[in-house]
């Protein structure tokens, strides 16, 4: 019976700072000994066939509609996506708790299989924490500002309210992180991003991060696309439509989130009453003779319905709501990208106008304006391509999400139905075999 108290992961235990191996150190990657001349999983045998499970032995739920099964992912070597052969597979699993005197945090195993030349090895297994994913996302946004970057699950959680180390919370987060990396890996441009490759393969990500920072300040990479203060004349229809769509869509998602939360609340209150209801039948049974069995039977049915309801509510909380919220975040970042696009266009238009007034230089378009035009056209193209991809993914995601919701409700009713149906023959049997009634 699913209880109310979340289960905690077994941690790696309290150890002194010296004793603790860095999660990204040799200890973990020794699990996977890369042999340069063999490019298949058979050599290591650990990723491909190993059963996915949490440290405490419970198997990882790979059937969640919201994220693709990682096993399936590894086996789909010939899957065609957008006409391309997939050559990069990424999975996030095996969450583990790390306790140090400074802090406690969770790391996830990120496993990669690839045939791409950019990678030295065909397989990698590294451990990353949420901070690292966050870093990756920021880098992607900075280096690929014309593209839609998938969202991450929410960064901050209220310490008192949510248990960051409960099995449910960690699992929800893991699924979201897994989806994030898969979306990046599936993207024809983002998946080739250098930061992404490093994220997947580097043993010591922190060193790279620091190095990157220094580089950044030197080159001013982050300043590249910051334009501001230009006024936009007219937005092309398709981008205006995108913006409108996103506005309405966000609204609807917000409403759906509120409805789902309200349903969960009502169901919880219904559960409270049900839990009081069943036992009354039991106490009635205690002073009856003939009726004792039927009454106990009813009490039992009500109890079964209670646990079925608890499961339904729990699943809605864990599987449904997080995905909704993820999309809200996705849309937020998409709107930002649209704004940037507007800015690029505005800059181009302004500069173009300025040139038009200057009658002296007719030798040709100044390189500055040309660059702006280039930038704008690239941005528009990238965005259009990404938009279509996004629409497609969105459709699949919501189909999965909503059919999942329907499934959960069907399962709930099926459990209740089974309980009540099993009671009927018991009652009717007694009635017929009991005192003979003259008709």
């Amino acid at each position: 019976m699913s209880g109310g108290t979340p289960k905690t992961l077994c941690s790696s235990g309290q150890r002194s700072l010296q004793e603790i191996c860095h999660p990204l150190s040799a200890e973990d990657s020794s699990v996977l000994t890369p042999s340069p001349d063999v490019g298949t999983a058979a050599a290591t045998g650990s990723i491909g066939e190993k059963d996915l499970s949490l440290p405490n032995g419970t198997p990882v739920d790979t059937s969640s509609p919201a994220s693709s099964s990682s096993l399936l992912n590894r086996l789909q070597l010939d899957d065609d996506l957008d006409g391309e052969t997939r050559d990069l597979f990424v999975t996030v699993d095996d969450p583990r708790k790390h306790v140090s005197t400074m802090e406690t945090y969770i790391t996830y195993r990120v496993s990669t299989k690839t045939t791409r030349a950019e990678f030295d090895l065909p397989e990698y297994s590294v451990r990353r924490r949420y901070q690292d994913f966050d870093w990756l996302r920021i880098k992607l946004e900075e280096s690929q500002p014309t593209h839609l970057i998938p969202p991450l699950p929410e960064k901050f959680v209220m310490k008192g309210v949510v248990d960051r180390f409960s099995e449910e919370f960690v699992e929800t987060r893991r699924k979201a992180l897994d989806k994030f990396l898969k979306r990046v890996a599936d993207h024809p441009v983002l998946s080739f991003n250098e930061h992404f490759s490093v994220f997947l393969s580097a043993k010591d990500l922190n060193a790279y991060k620091k190095q990157g920072l220094a580089l950044l300040t030197k080159m001013g990479e982050s300043v590249k696309y910051v334009t501001g203060g230009y006024k936009l004349r007219g937005r092309p229809v398709e981008f205006a439509a995108m913006g409108e769509y996103l506005d309405v869509f966000t609204q609807k998602l917000g409403t759906i989130d509120r409805i789902a939360q309200r349903i969960i609340k009502e169901q919880s209150e219904y559960l409270v009453e049900l839990k009081e209801y069943g036992p009354v039948y039991s106490s009635w049974a205690s002073f009856e003779a003939e009726l004792q069995e039927p009454l106990e039977g009813v009490a039992g049915c009500v109890a079964n319905c209670c646990s079925a309801l608890e499961e339904l509510t729990e699943e809605m909380c864990e599987d449904f709501l997080p995905v909704l919220r993820e999309y809200v975040l996705y849309i937020e970042s998409m709107k930002n990208v649209l704004k940037k696009r507007d800015q690029v266009q505005a800059e181009y238009e302004t500069k173009l106008e300025a040139v038009a007034f200057r009658k002296e230089e007719r030798s040709g378009m100044p390189t500055d304006v040309e660059k702006c035009q280039d930038r704008m056209e690239c941005f528009n193209a990238d965005l259009k391509a990404d938009w279509d991809r996004w629409q497609n993914n969105k459709r699949q995601d919501f189909r999965q999400l909503l059919t999942g919701m329907a499934d959960k409700n069907i399962q709930y009713y099926e459990k209740c139905l089974a309980a009540w149906e099993s009671l009927i023959p018991l009652l009717q049997d007694k009635q017929e075999n009991g005192k003979p009634e003259t008709n």
Binding site: K252, I259, Y277, V298, I410
Partner: protein
């Protein structure tokens, strides 16, 4: 009154899995709204003509000639409370009031089984008249667990149900409850042969006068008084004490059950209705989608259907609540019978005590010894002994009193015995009926739950299909 036919009456219970059927084809059904079979054959009770020499129960209960002992009215007569109607009229204080009347239809059974269906005889009665009938029966048959009337005011309501007596749902449930009451009375060996009951069913005007003429009102008052009085019985029959205790326990647990059920119903209503919001938002969302639009829109309709389905579900559950309520109210009758036993036992004990004290007085008078303190004894001591003439006179009075007392004790003894026998007989009958009826109620409740689950599966499967098309 026609002789009871040789054919068996099809008194069928409504055990259909399609709960909610009004059972219009099952004519003589005692329905506690979901179909309950009455126990038409009561175990043998000595309720017919009394053997000579023994006093009968107060008030004549043997009906008109032609009704054989051991048969019930239901075997010869079909009874229906067919309709309810609103009336307005002046009441006792000359003020205009609105009230509801119920149409009672009766028809001889023979004609039905022969295929002829003449128009039934009918008359209108209001709730207060039913109350009068019931009070009459309570007084006249103190050894019977008299069936209860449906509640006067709606209790154990959950928020949507109107507590208004004029509410059509309430009136409808009351109609069913009144019919149930009549059928239960008509299927009881003793009660159904009562002339007043028969007149209630057949004569609209003048019935009230007839019933008041029996003088039951006065008895009703003294009965109430007696039931509420406190007295200690030395040797009560243990079975009755246990029954009374059972009555208390059952009342308590059913009240609790009804209260919690009402809250459960309230919450269930909330869960279903909130889903209706999905209908609206899916519709709005579908407007901005291309391929996803159709699937979303139709799924939304299913969500609306889901939200709407709870009304019927909960209306059906009210029938279950009514079945429980009937037995909640039945407990008052049961406890009253037990109480009546205590009363008769007490009266017997009082009479016996009185007799024994008189006998003691006689002994004292004869022997001249004063065993116990008595005022007479003291005064005679103080003011001198009595003369032999005075003593003889006293003795004569005492002897008379003792003879009367002995007869009274004898009478009360057999009264008590007879009451215990009849009452226990009826209680056994009632116990069987209760076990049967409540089990039926639980079965029909389970069937309701099954139906609700199946509807839920259906709706969500439909919605899932729509989502799949997105």
């Amino acid at each position: 009154m026609a002789d009871s036919g040789s054919g068996d009456i099809a008194v069928t219970g409504n055990r259909d899995l399609a709960a909610g059927e009004s059972g219009s084809d099952a004519k003589n059904t005692v329905k506690s709204a979901a179909g309950v079979r009455p126990t038409t054959e009561a175990p043998t009770c000595r309720v017919g003509p009394r053997p000579a020499g023994l006093p009968g129960p107060r008030g004549c209960c043997v009906a008109a000639a032609g009704i054989r002992q051991g048969t019930t009215l239901l075997k010869t007569m079909e009874i229906n409370v067919a309709e309810a109607e609103k009336r307005t009229g002046k009441n006792a204080v000359n003020m205009l009031e609105t009230y509801t009347v119920y149409l009672i239809e009766t028809r001889p059974v023979d004609t039905v089984s022969e295929g002829i269906s003449p128009t039934p005889d009918s008359l209108w009665r209001r709730y207060s008249e039913f109350e009068i009938l019931r009070n009459y029966l309570l007084v006249t048959y103190p050894f019977v667990v008299v069936p209860p009337l449906p509640e006067k005011r709606a209790e154990f309501v959950w928020h949507k149900l109107s507590a208004d007596n004029m509410d059509p749902d309430f009136v409808e449930r009351r109609r069913v409850g009144l019919e149930n009451f009549l059928l239960r009375v008509a299927s009881h060996t003793a009660l159904s042969n009562d002339k007043i009951f028969f007149t209630f069913l057949t004569e609209e005007n003048g019935w009230k006068e007839i019933v008041f003429e029996t003088g039951f009102q006065a008895k009703a008052d003294s009965r109430l008084k007696a039931l509420n009085a406190t007295f200690r019985v030395k040797n009560p029959d243990k079975r009755f004490a246990e029954m009374k205790h059972y009555g208390d326990e059952l009342q308590s647990v059913i009240s609790q059950l009804l209260r919690v059920r009402a809250r459960v119903a309230d919450r269930l209503y909330g869960v279903y209705k909130v889903h209706g919001n999905y209908g609206r938002v899916f519709s709005e969302w579908s407007a901005i989608e291309k391929e996803m639009g159709d699937g979303l829109q139709s799924a939304g309709h299913h969500m609306d259907a889901y939200a709407a389905s709870v009304d019927d579900i909960l209306e059906e559950e009210e029938h279950y609540a009514d079945q429980l309520k009937e037995y909640l109210f039945y407990m008052d009758s049961l406890k009253a019978v037990c109480r009546k036993h205590e009363l008769t036992q007490f009266e017997l004990e009082m009479a016996a005590q009185d007799l024994s004290s008189k006998k003691q007085q006689r002994e004292e008078l004869a022997t001249g010894t004063v065993r116990t303190f008595s005022l007479k004894g003291m005064t005679s001591k103080l003011f001198g002994q009595e003369t032999p003439e005075q003593r003889e006179a006293k003795m004569k009075v005492l002897e008379e009193q003792i003879q009367e007392g002995e007869e009274e004790v004898k009478e009360k003894n057999s009264e008590c015995d007879e009451f215990v026998n009849n009452a226990w007989c009826d209680i056994e009958r009632f116990k069987d009926q209760k076990d049967h009826d409540l089990k039926e109620a639980l079965i029909s409740y389970a069937i309701m739950q099954i139906s609700m689950c199946k509807k839920g599966i259906q709706v969500w499967s439909n919605a899932k299909e729509c989502f799949n098309k997105m």
